[in-house]
Structure formats: C-alpha cells, structure tokens
Symmetry: C2
Subunit: 186 residues, 2 copies
DNA sequence: TCTATGTATGTAATATAATAACATGTCAAG
DNA sequence: CTTGACATGTTATTATATTACATACATAGA
C-alpha cells in the first residue's frame, strides 16, 4: 500500500479502482490505498469454493454481479448493477439484479447497506460475521469493520429486555481519515 | 396500566394501541403492556417545551404528525402518515409528510427506522441519545433501547481506523418477549 | 400600518427502489 | 427423453422519496 500518486489522495465519486481501494479485509487497510485486484481475486476464489461446498450455484449472472461489486469496490444501487448487466447482454429488468443480489446477500457474499439503499461485496465471505459499516458522507467510501464488541453490547442489552436478536444492522455515517483531513484543511 | 376501555381496540393490523403499548421510555417496560396515553402526553409536552427553547416552530402539521406517531405507537411509513394528514385536511402530496417527518427527525422528536422505511416517535426527546432499535419480525413492535455501550464500542473501533463517527444506525431484528413465547408454544 | 423577508405549506411532476405475476429456458435425476 | 426444480427473462405495478415551483403566513423593520 501507500503506492499512491498525488492524483488520488483527494478522491471522490470518480476514482481509480486500484490505487484508491476501500473497505478491504484488513480493517487497518480499510481506508488506505492498496492493490485491490488482489483482494477481489481472492474473494472471488473463496466464494467459488464456498458455493461448491454449500450446494448452491454461482451462475453467470450471480457471478458477474459479484465481480462488478468487487471491481467497483464501493456500494452500488441495484439499478447501477442492472445497468452494467444490461450492457453486457443480461436481462435489463429490475428482478434480474435483485434476484442475484438477494442470492449473494443470503449466502454472505454481499452486504446490503440500508442507509444507502445499496449493496457492497463482502470482503471476508465464509467467516461468520455480523458486519459493521463505516460510511464516509463525503466520498461515499464504505468499510467493513470487526463487529464483535458492538454485537456483544447489543445482544447483552437486548437479552435484558427478553428480546432475541437474530440479525443486526449497524452503520455509522461520518468522515473517513482522508476526508477528515481535507475537511480540516480546505 | 392495563386500564383499557373496550372502545379503542381495533386500530392497526396487529395491536391494541393502549393495552399493547410498546417501546416507551422505560426500557424495562418497552415490550410490556401499559397505559400509553400518559407517555404520549408527556412526550408531547416535553416536545413543545424544547421547541420553544430551541427557536424552532412546532406548526400544526408537524405537531399533528408527532401526535399521530405517538398515538399509533409504532413505526409508520411516510405514506401512512400522509394518508392520515390528507384525511384531516392537510395537503396530500408526499412532501407534506416528508417535510414534517424530516423536521421532527432533525430535532430529535422522531426516529427513522431504515430497516422498515418508517418513522417512530422518540420516547425521550431532549435527552441526547443515539438510539438502538429492537424490531420484532413477528409483530412489528419497535422498542428504543439504551445505546451507550453499543455506541462506545462502535466509536472506539472506528477511532482506531481514523474514522470519525457522526451518526449511527443500529437496528436489531428478532423476536420480542411475547412473540418469543408464542413461537416456542404454537 | 405597510411591506420586505424568511420560513412553511401546497401541488405537480418525476425519480428511485422494490416486488408481483407469469412465461421461458436449463439442467440433472429418474 | 421426460419430469421437476431451479434460474432467468419480461411486463406491469407498487412503494418510497425528491425536485421544482407556486402560494400563504408570520414577523421584523421602514
């Protein structure tokens, strides 16, 4: 990492997907520049292994949707994904995208970011985790963070009330390190 | 509590608003039956005081929206609120509801439940709190829970990554005490 | 009191997100 | 080579949310 040119420190919606990689597996690197091609390939390989083991099928559409989210490396709306699919010859109606996304989400390959009505590829499929997301309100970067402490606190408090937690949505809006700096010195 | 008249059942799809009151200020009572009329009046009074102090205006529409959410005592979609408003002679276009809801949310009188695309009245306006919501997947009850430990865990972990948290969305889907029991013994 | 100003409300039109319902295609077990 | 399960494609519709602009309404200053 830290192989960054001067061009991409002030990234935004338009970004070089390789040098401006966000949200990868290592939380410490989540907001740092690094070679994302590697992460993406790795995740995809792991997904295929998991799928084979689990008796479900990673069909062309589903696989392509996962690839798109991995390449893009940020949260995409269902209709953004759909546009890409349509351009590549897949169906161009909403259910095509939603079905693939739902499948991937159910199987832990992508996460739904409710705050953004969007989806992002999971960076550690297979590992059981209830993810916490950090969303930068300035550059829209999304990072997946270890959630164990948060989940523990939540589960404990809920148990006191007799509430049985099954699934959690934990999302934090704020400023990523880069945007923190640029906001401080404009 | 449990002082219910026979007149006012039959409100929502599931619950009697008075005897089956959910999510009030006391977390211990959150999922317990009690007289909600008292909570609602109390919250409304507090809201008016806060508004006066804060230099913002609780206009008729805004006040009515808050009342509706307090009466209903569950999460309502913007269009549900809108229907009620229209029936009472207010405007019947979406912005009418969204503007009032946005105002109330910004000022801490209602919360947005992203998982449900809905809004619920806040049961302790004024107290600074980043709420945690418990949502029953069976009966749709929503309870507001103390969030300090969860917030602390989240903030600490994020700070390690250099991320500055500004707002959080923490929602847990699961089974409330009542539905837990009924699911165990059907 | 009048009128300028900011804020709130009303309305129309549109954008964005998600689902329902049904037809067609594909593949593997029997 | 048929059947059944699953996946994909398409049409239509519902649900959620915002933009843009017009109108009313309060109130501070001339």
């Amino acid at each position: 990492m830290a192989r960054m040119s001067d061009a991409d420190s002030a990234s935004a919606s338009v970004s070089d997907p390789e040098s401006d990689c966000r949200g990868c597996a290592d939380p410490a690197a989540a907001f740092a520049a690094h070679d994302h091609r590697h992460c993406a390939g790795d995740v995809l390989a792991r997904a295929e292994a998991l799928v084979a083991a689990g008796g479900v099928r990673l069909t062309p559409v589903r696989r392509r949707v996962l690839e798109i989210l991995l390449e893009e490396h940020r949260a995409l709306g269902a209709y953004d994904v759909l546009k890409r699919l349509a351009a590549e010859g897949f169906g161009n109606q909403p259910p095509v995208a939603y079905r693939a996304l739902d499948f991937l989400a159910e199987n832990g390959f992508v996460h739904r970011i409710r705050r953004l009505n969007a989806f992002a590829a999971c960076m550690h499929p297979g590992e059981d985790h209830a993810p916490v997301f950090l969303i930068c309100r300035n550059c829209n970067a999304v990072a997946e963070m270890p959630a164990a402490p948060v989940r523990a606190a939540l589960g404990a408090a809920a148990a006191d009330l007799g509430f049985a937690v099954e699934r959690t949505t934990v999302e934090a809006m704020g400023l990523c390190p880069a945007c923190c700096k640029s906001e401080a010195a404009p």
